[in-house]
Amino acid sequence: MEEKIYVDDIDRSIYDIKDVEDDDFRMEEGLTADIIKKLSEEKDDPDWMKEFRLESLKIYNELKIPDWGPSIEGLDMDHIATYVRPKSNMENTWENVPQDIKDTFERLGIPQAERKSLAGVGAQYDSELVYHNVKDEVAEQGVIYTDMESAMKGEYADMVKEYFMKLVPPSDHKFAALHGAVWSGGSFVYVPKNTELSIPLQSYFRLNAKGAGQFEHTLIIVDEGASLHFIEGCSAPKYNVANLHAGCVELYVKKNAKLRYSTIENWSKNMYNLNTKRAIVEEGGSVEWVSGSFGSHVGYLYPMSVLKGDNSRMEFTGVTFAGNGQNLDTGAKVVHIGKNTSSYMNTRSISKSGGISTFRSSVVVNKSATGTKSAVSCESLMLDSESRSDTIPAMDIRTKDADVGHEAKIGSISDDAVFYLMSRGMSEEDARALIVSGFADNVSKELPLEYAVEMNNLIRLEMKGSIG
């Protein structure tokens, strides 16, 4: 117990099982206007979308790679296949999903989870959704949960056109532009006025193909007075070639509506996770983010909330676990625009075996946002002396009456606490895992039970073999 702790790469055996690549179509690697046109044709895009993609590509070529965060030099865009379509059309009965893909999701527990407690499930394999199902009673309430492609072409085409990448424009940053150019798959959700969904909707993203990118687009509109809990899970097996995830999530929370958006991200440790998530909240509405980041080699992830309406509010609860070889730059942003708006960020970051975990928070209070309340709290736990944890808070306050607070704490596991737990019979590994799980319970408390269990299992996996 006095010895130093060494942690091997975790046993990710469930997540790392690779399926044989058996694609219908695989884009040639690299990024040119011709490739984008081909992609657009292949996907049978409406004209406006084709134009949108080409315009985004232009912006992509003009923008610089960000230089303020972890290095993404290992990412060679010329060798990331942008679009891989699995050999499957979308199905709404589980039986009809091809066996190998089905096996993967079965291993990850997706259909079981659906049977238990979800209102609807979408499962994306590489670039396309392969399975989609919404419970009848949810559909009867008028809730729309479908894949983006169908939404763009079907009944909701106008709605998609009206909202698509309006909150996160391609000009936002280089990877938003990339997303605009090559996006594929993802979910569209519309919850009609005054409709309350008591059980969550879920989507699960799985990237199997080697050296591919996943660029799913999630567009959620929660109409006035409605409420929704949406859960997103992500995983991929590990290859020696870098994979890229540059998804985009746009959340529109209307007047007095409520949205909770939960994510458990466990991408493989060669993944560059450059994801953009943003919510805009109208009067009296609220958005709650619950976020667990465990995987990826490099991550840039800062869900942003724009509190546009008066009395709107946001809450962000997150945990980031950076192990060997991981550099996870995560955080949250909020922009207060409406009057009497409030924001609360509560995050925990854990780093071990040389992992780097950085927490960035950004609180912007516009002149119009009188009566703003904001609190940011960040705690870090470093499991050994080679790991690193940084906190970078930014605040831009333009009102006189804002009530803004920030607190940060950094610590390590106390040997005394480990000894105390062990003195009742627990093994050292269990004791450490229990302390780390306890540290991250701000997030697990907010998740539905089976997700909390999955998260604790992930922590347990991460902590396994951590005794030298």
Partner: protein, 249 residues
């Protein structure tokens, strides 16, 4: 000596470079109650930690025999499973782990099987009532925000739930008000009656002993046991103090 539960033989213990225990000999039989007294800083707590296996306490000489087996190289959790329990002087706060979940998981470690939730809850509730503990504490994070008294009661609660063979109580009575000491003392008595366990009580006062029958009293000074006697020795120390007792020899 079949009857001996714990035998400490010529034990030397270092903390860092500093030698704290300098040849301690002490024997506790089955179902016996022993009291360990002595001035502050003489190594009483060190002995407790060394018996239960805190890795910060280096055993440099001698041996600890528990239930006929040397345990000095055994990790702390294995010793716990064999039936050694230490009630901490300053129980640690562990956020995110509830008292009830902690006790249940400790029990599972010890017995190798998971107790039925219903049975567990029932037993926990009854035991908490014995200790006049508010049931709400079961679902609170382990010791987080507990008062000094509640922390000590939580230790005795663990003792009664885990039913070890040997309980070492390290100043469990310090900082408690009169009622709390009485509750704790009764709890210890229940442990004796129910489990026929042995006790090694480190204390400065007689209050905690009121409900108990003391078999042997040991006095420690500067890392060795300097005097042993029966329960009357406790009263002698309380009335005379360690200095006078020593001078009288």
């Amino acid at each position: 000596m079949e009857n001996n539960l714990l035998e400490i033989k010529d034990l030397y213990v270092n903390v860092g470079e500093k030698e704290i225990l300098k040849g301690v000999n002490l024997t506790v039989g089955s179902n016996e109650t022993h009291v360990l007294m002595g001035p502050n800083g003489t190594g009483k707590s060190t002995l407790g930690y060394a018996i239960c296996g805190n890795p910060r306490y280096d055993i440099t000489g001698g041996d600890i025999i528990f239930d006929g087996e040397s345990i000095k190289d055994m990790p702390v959790n294995e010793r716990a499973k064999k039936g050694i329990f230490l009630s901490f002087q300053n129980p640690l706060e562990v956020p995110g782990v509830t008292l009830s979940a902690f006790i249940r998981s400790s029990l599972e470690q010890k017995t190798g099987q998971r107790m039925k939730l219903w049975d567990f809850k029932k037993k926990l509730k009854e035991t908490m009532a014995l200790l006049s503990m508010d049931e709400a504490y079961a679902d609170r994070d382990l010791n987080v925000g507990f008062s000094g008294g509640e922390k000590k009661k939580a230790e005795i609660l663990q003792l009664l739930m885990l039913e070890p063979k040997l309980a070492i109580l390290d100043e469990t009575d310090s900082g408690l008000d009169v009622d709390a000491v009485r509750t704790v003392s009764n709890g210890i008595k229940i442990f004796k009656e129910r489990c026929e366990g042995s006790l090694l009580i480190i204390t400065h006062s007689t209050k905690i002993l009121e409900a108990l029958t003391v078999d042997t009293t040991h006095i420690m000074e500067s890392g060795v046991i300097v005097k042993e006697g029966d329960s009357s020795l406790v009263d002698e120390i309380i009335s005379k103090g360690f200095e006078e007792l020593k001078a009288g020899e």
